[in-house]
Symmetry: C2
Subunit: 186 residues, 2 copies
Amino acid sequence: MPTYAKKDFPVENVRRFLEPGPIVLVSSAWRGQRNIMTMGWHMIMEFQPSLVGCYIWDANHSFEMIRRSRECVINVPTVELATTVVRIGNCSGREVDKFATFKLTAVPGEKVEAPLIGECYANFECRLVDASLIRKYSLFILEVVKAHAATSPKFPRTIHYRGDGLFMIAGPTVGRYRRWFKPENL
Amino acid sequence: MPTYAKKDFPVENVRRFLEPGPIVLVSSAWRGQRNIMTMGWHMIMEFQPSLVGCYIWDANHSFEMIRRSRECVINVPTVELATTVVRIGNCSGREVDKFATFKLTAVPGEKVEAPLIGECYANFECRLVDASLIRKYSLFILEVVKAHAATSPKFPRTIHYRGDGLFMIAGPTVGRYRRWFKPENL
C-alpha cells in the first residue's frame, strides 16, 4: 500500500483533486465508533469558504455518524488502493471495523475528531455546515476546514467510477491548453 | 473535430459518463438566443428520476437563460475538443454566438428547445426541476429527460479540470475490480 508524505494544502484549492471527479473514501467517528464509506457523488460548490456537496445514502452506516457528529474526512485514494476501495464499499460498518479489516492507518485530524486515512494521497477535514438538504436530497454541504496533500507524485492516479463495476483510471495531467485562458480565469 | 454516431441512451445510466467528473458543455436557448458554457461543478444526485446537480455562477450569461427557460443540454466533449472547451469558457455569450464562432453543430433536441452540440460524445437533455437552491448556492437541480450517446469508442477520452489551466485526460476504463462487488451493488 502506498505511503504518502503530506503537507498542509490550501483549503481553497481542494478542487485540484476533487473537481476531476475521483471516487473518495469518507471517514467518520461518533461515540467511540469509526467508519469509512466510498463516495462517488460529490461536487465543489465554492472556493471560499471551501464548500463540497456530497450525496450520502441514508442506508449507509456513515449517514447517521456524519449527520450527528457533523464532521468527516474526505480522503483521496489512488489506484493502488482500488481493491480496498471496492471492498470498503461492499461491506457495512455495522458489522466490521473497516480500519482494522483493511489494515488502514487512522491518523488523528487537527480540526475534527474523525480520523484521516494515512494511505490516501490527500485528506480533507470537513465540517457539516448545512444539513437542511439531507432530508430531501441526501445532500450534505461540507466545509473543508483543513487540507493535507502529498507533493509527490504531483498529480495522483485517482480512480473514477462509471457504475457497473468499471473504473476509469486517471491519465496524464496536461498544461498545453493553458494559453487559451484569460489570465483572470486561471 | 470528431463526429459521433449516437443512439438513445437510458437516462438512469448517465452516471456512466458524468460520475467520472468530466468538464462538460452546457447549451441553452432563450428568446431566439442560444449559448454554450463550460461547467466543471456537477454531480449525480439520483438514478430515477435521473437528477444532476450543477453549480452555475450568476455572472455567466447562461445563468439567466437556463433559469428562465428551465431547460438546457449537458454535452460531454472529448479531448479533441479541449481547445474549443477552453475558448468557450473564456468568452461570453453576451458578445458572441458560440455555435458560429467555434463552428459547432446545433442539433435540435427531442424534449427541450435548447440545442445539442453535435461534436460531443454524449448529449443529455435536461429540465430544471428545482430552482429553490439557486439563490443560496447557485445550485440547479436538473432532470435528464432524454439522453443520446455514441457507442464507439465504448468509453470517451474526456477531460477533467484541476484549475490553474490544467486538465487530467481520462485514462483507460478497467473491469478488473468488478469481482469485489456484491452483485446487488453493481
